[in-house]
Amino acid sequence: MDTLKAFIRHPSGMAGLIILASIVMLAVLAPTLRPDDPWDMIGAPFQPPLSEGLLLGSDMLGRDVAAGIMYGARVSLTIGLASTLAAVFVGVLIGAVSGYCGGQIDDVMMRITELFQTIPGFILAILLVATLGPTLSHVIVAIGAVSWPPLARLTRAEFLRLRSREFVQAAVCQGQPSIAVVFRHILPNAISPIIVTGSLTIATAILIESALSFMGLGDPNLMSWGFMIGAARTVIRQAWWMSVFPGIAIVLSVLAINLLGEGLNDTLNPRLSRGGRH
């Protein structure tokens, strides 16, 4: 409860929460507010913002930019959340095994993690989506596959730190099985930095998703922010609004999640310095 109170008093964290909540609302209400398919032509093409019935204008095929942004929010948030969950699962698993077992297992696993950190992640993601085919689940897999290394390193460091603490040693001495030690004693104490890093991973995942769909590697059946910008790129001289507004949507979501993450960091790990983000 104290944590909750502290978070409410955190101005930028709350600002992030409010912006993010509004975007989630827009995403949820998209089918109610704009019942038409976002791919449908609903007016004349190249209509500037604030023209009749079109708050944010229409694109080169007469599609509503505002509707595109609302439906795009669904895609971006879904992919951001799902790929982060995948990355957290893989990262925590590898980090936990590595930090708990130590020794050669740790050595090998950290080598693999380091390798994945060296490989240019975005290009690996491009390659994965291009090979497996551009569907929602493949995009999630690709982003998850390039996002787990920081989480693995963090979890490993936490496990290494906690493993030698007295209460964990006590549990081991009582003869509790490793599973119990990990899930009852270590993980609950390591969870808050994992939550913070996980929340920041969502922001990065949204950025990667937008770049993938900008490159034409998004799911072709789903409207997304990156796709809108990519499609409007060639007409930017005539129609600025088609690329400006979806971009603002990306910036706002990522900014909101980053602010929220920093707010969580300050309230969950009050002793850590604010500079500890990177």
């Binding site: 240019p120 975005f122 497996l132 490159m215 910008i229 790129r233 690329s243 990306i250 706002l252 990522v254």
Partner: protein
């Protein structure tokens, strides 16, 4: 010469040899793993691997397909295929782009200079400006200019690189008409080498600015907190108590120590910088590897994509080496530590 020889025989020399050996081992390991990975991907792709290598055009004729099966040994067991593939990679045979009708290595070599120019300039710009701004903000912690830096870096950090690029195009080429929006050099105009270099620099400005912005923001923030940390340490108080001027304390005592974490992070982010170059080249029609990636994605040209993946990873390892060497240069303690 004799002093260098002397140094190389000492513990420092051993450390250098160890570092080079470690780096070479890492290099070989990464290349082999990436090659293996590429091999697995081609087989994970839906459809016939021969079809995939040919470019999934569907129009590839049977003669070409059977020739490819022969060449890659696709009828042999996987392990033999993998060995064949790795052997080709090691001998720098990256295959043939059936879409572009040219060897992949030639395509990559042609596009390499433009990408190196773009990423290199962006990396340097981000480091130099980021460190300068971060130091200024750290020294003036709490003042409005410091607050400004925090806000701007948060904004840059939330921006997709390709969108920032487009916004800069909107401002500097569409509205103000100051800078060219795309391309590498003005086409169809005969130029002297100097005029050509200036023209390339002109075209380089916007892509480099867009690519460098995020990293600049990250380095500036990191430098700022690092400078603040160092400023409170005892040896800085000593330096000030000795009566050293502020400028000298900042440059000789604070900067040199505060720069280390920035160099570390810069090295770790080399991979993401190279990834950013791919989208930036797409936005600005910059004729480098990134633009080639975009075309290869559109055409599903796998041999080219795999080659790019390999070459980009190698660029990242080289950038890592550069930051590692910088680290050793700035902090001589690192060498002694790794030697013991």
């Amino acid at each position: 010469m004799s002093s260098i020889a002397l140094r190389l025989t000492g513990s420092r020399g051993i450390a250098v040899v160890l570092a080079v050996a470690g780096w070479l081992a890492k290099f070989v390991a990464v290349v082999l793993v990436i090659a293996t990975f590429s091999f697995l991907l081609v087989h994970a792709a839906p459809g016939d691997p021969a079809q995939v290598i040919a470019g999934q055009s569907g129009a590839a004729d049977d003669k070409l397909l059977s020739q490819l099966r022969e060449e890659y040994g696709l009828d042999k067991p996987y392990i033999v295929q993998l060995a064949t593939y790795l052997k080709r990679v090691v001998t720098l045979d990256l295959g043939y782009s059936y879409r572009q009708q040219r060897p992949v290595l030639t395509l990559l070599a042609e596009r390499m200079p433009a990408t190196l120019l773009l990423t290199g300039s962006a990396f340097l710009l981000a480091l130099i400006v980021g460190i300068t701004l971060g130091t200024l903000a750290g020294v003036r912690a709490g003042k409005w200019s410091d607050m400004m830096l925090t806000v701007i870096s948060l904004l840059f950090y939330a921006m997709p690189v390709f969108w920032l690029g487009l916004m800069l195009v909107l401002l500097f080429s569409v509205q103000l008409d100051w800078l060219p929006a795309f391309g590498y050099v003005t086409i169809g105009v005969p130029m002297t080498p100097i005029a050509r270099a200036r023209d390339i620099l002109w075209h380089l400005t916007l892509p480099v600015m867009s690519l460098a912005a995020v990293y600049l923001a990250i380095y500036a923030r990191l430098m700022r907190s690092s400078v603040i940390d160092i400023t409170h340490q005892d040896f800085i108080k000593t330096a000030r108590a000795k009566g050293l001027k502020q400028g000298r304390v900042v440059v000789r005592h604070i900067l040199r120590n505060a720069i280390l974490p920035v160099v570390t992070v810069a090295g770790m982010q080399a991979g993401s910088l190279v990834g950013g170059a791919v989208v930036i080249e797409t936005v600005f029609a910059w004729p480098g590897l990134g633009r080639l990636t975009y075309d290869a994605v559109l055409q599903r040209d796998y041999p080219v994509l795999l080659g790019i993946f390999l070459v980009m990873s190698v660029i990242v390892i080289i950038l890592n080496l550069v930051t590692d060497a910088t680290y050793r240069l700035v902090d001589p303690r690192v060498t002694t530590r790794s030697a013991s």
